[in-house]
């Protein structure tokens, strides 16, 4: 059963719409790519779409209550939502340095979650609410 899938290339601002003709997970043909980069992108995006996940993780004793983090490498697109859910349960302690590993292996992808900024510890204990 052949089907056509359209993928928009994001390698450059042109954003070519590339039509893939696929059957049983195999790419039979491809049309619409303006350059070889687009063809590579479409092939990758069809076989194994991956994304860098940016999100935040709770921090104890920092100048801010959350620290931004990302996956050190792109992870499979299908894992994004579950990864965010897992990270919602994580809490780290300030100070944190850019590049610190927050989670070693997120969702069994083999990819680490790393901090994307320095987050100093708060000089004073935060005043309890109310």
């Amino acid at each position: 059963m052949t089907e056509t899938i359209t993928i928009t290339c994001i390698r450059c601002p042109v954003g070519c719409d590339i039509d893939l003709e696929v059957e049983d997970g195999e790419i039979l043909s491809m049309e619409g790519a303006g350059c070889i980069q687009g063809e590579d992108y479409a092939r990758e995006e069809y076989r194994n779409p991956t994304r860098v996940l940016p999100t935040t993780v709770r921090v104890k004793g920092g100048v801010l209550p959350y620290v931004p983090v990302k996956t050190a490498e792109p992870i499979p697109k299908g894992e994004l939502e579950a990864a965010v859910e897992e990270l919602a349960t994580v809490e780290v302690e300030a100070p944190i340095e850019l590049g610190d590993v927050i989670v070693e292996d997120i969702r069994g992808t083999g990819v680490a979650i790393v901090a994307t900024r320095d987050l100093p510890a708060a000089e004073e204990e935060p005043v309890a609410a109310d």
Binding site: T8, V14, G15, T55, V63, P68, K70, L98, T116, R117
Partner: protein
């Protein structure tokens, strides 16, 4: 009452007074880049005044990747990009004052700043670089009927709440406007557990870049609905929903097309406005299209010794260009401090046809033998395919650049060779956009 007034007067008399070579207003990417470049050009008496508790500006809340591809040739998140420059200015020993609000900049470069340690400080600056960035248009700018319930945020405010303060602004959102901040926030709201019902865009095309449409909306099946807008907001205490209508070519709602979306939150991503209150008070003349100061190629405004760069000058889509531009401003201010700038007898005016929305700078007014080329930044009015952006003078074409697709959301840069400027047919440069076949 009388006593406290006297106390205030007493404090004013005791106001701190300082003198510095260069004062940079704003510690975001533009201010940091300008300070770094000025230092590297030989100025070491530099003060950065920043109202937030830390440097980095809006980059600190932009935790998504996509920054630095031009400048660092690698993909960084906003905080990562910022941290590099924060470390750079710290290493150079730049005087950084946080939690410090600039109250006024005068036309003769007296800067008034206040913080809770020093009170008010009056700084006599040789040069001032304005780098205050921009702010988002709010609901006030849109005239949407309805009452004034809670739950209406600019996309940037929501971004700060989620990424820095850890607060989700709502559970079911509609995003009005498809600029990059709106698209990024659609993904963020979705990943953080909220439902994003739709992104509405009044124009026939998105205001954001393709990459964000794909990775922020299509990845999560969030619909983008073009030529539609919110025509009513429902709810009294909290947003309960919106009425959406299709619009015609004149952006007028089309009767009979209305439908409702239930939601508790509206995020507005309807444009950015350069933050120029301080500039206006200093007598800086603003450009009617960009909303930022009119500057020459050194980024000097009409007020001598006051420069501007970054989003306070014109809104950039990529921070890398902010860095490039702020370094031009910092370097120029430094060279001017060292009397190394030669002013042209007559500035070269830069004009453009109606196909371009605007071009920065507005004129070229100095000669600098060390400067090989001058970048001109511009935006087209509407999307166009297969076009040349041409630069000519007196009917003679001097330079051109080809764009497979030119869009209002993607700034175009055309570099002018300094040698070309040496012998122009007339002291005017004209920019135009022509179809490939006609070129």
């Amino acid at each position: 009452m009388t006593e406290s007034r006297q106390a205030v007067t007493g404090d004013l008399d005791a106001m701190r007074r300082e003198e510095h070579d260069l004062v940079v207003v704003g510690g975001g990417p533009a201010g940091l880049g300008a300070a770094q470049a000025a230092y590297d050009e030989g100025v070491d008496d530099i003060v950065i005044l920043e109202r937030d508790f830390e440097l980095g500006g809006i980059l600190q809340q932009c935790v998504h990747p996509g920054f630095g591809l031009e400048y660092f040739e690698e993909e960084l998140t906003g905080p990562e990009y910022a941290q590099q420059f924060i470390e750079n200015v710290a290493e150079r020993g730049v005087d950084i004052r946080l939690d410090t609000m600039v109250l006024e900049v005068t036309h003769d470069r007296t800067v008034y700043a206040v913080n809770d340690e020093d009170g008010v400080t009056e700084i006599d600056a040789e040069k001032v670089i304005l780098a205050m960035g921009c702010r988002e248009r709010t609901r006030d700018a849109l005239d949407i009927p309805g009452s004034r319930p809670a739950g209406i945020f600019t996309a940037g405010t929501a971004q700060r709440l989620i990424n820095m303060e850890g607060k989700l602004p709502g559970e079911k959102a509609v995003i009005l406007g498809s600029g990059d901040v709106g698209l990024i926030m659609a993904r963020h709201m979705h990943l953080e557990g909220a439902e994003v019902e739709a992104v509405l865009e009044i124009m026939p095309y998105t205001g954001g870049i393709t990459r964000n449409v794909v990775q922020c909306l299509e990845d999560f099946d969030i619909p983008l609905r073009t030529q539609q807008t919110i025509t009513e907001i429902h709810g009294n205490d909290r947003v309960e929903g919106v009425t959406v209508q299709e619009v015609d070519e004149d952006f007028e709602p089309i009767p009979g097309t209305e439908y409702e979306i239930e939601c508790d939150t509206i995020l507005l991503s309807v444009g950015l406005i350069p933050e120029n209150e301080l500039s206006i008070d200093a007598g800086v003349e603003l450009h009617s299209v960009t909303g930022g100061p009119i500057v020459d190629e050194t980024r000097e405004t009409n007020v001598e010794d006051i420069y501007a760069c970054g989003n306070v000058l014109h809104v950039h889509d990529v921070v890398d260009w902010v860095t490039e531009e702020s370094m031009i401003a910092g370097r120029s201010a430094a060279r001017s401090l060292q009397d190394r700038v030669e002013t042209r007898e007559e500035p070269i005016e830069i004009e453009s046809t109606e196909k371009l929305r605007y071009v920065v700078p507005d004129r070229i007014s100095t000669v600098d033998p060390d400067r090989e080329e001058i970048p001109l930044y511009m935006r087209v009015h509407a999307p166009m395919e297969e076009v040349f952006v041409t630069l000519s003078s007196g009917g003679e074409q001097l330079a051109r650049t080809f764009e497979r697709r030119a869009e209002p959301g993607e700034m175009i840069t055309l570099n002018v060779d300094s040698e070309t400027l040496a012998e122009l047919p007339e002291p005017r440069l004209e920019l135009d956009v022509v179809q490939r076949e006609e070129a």
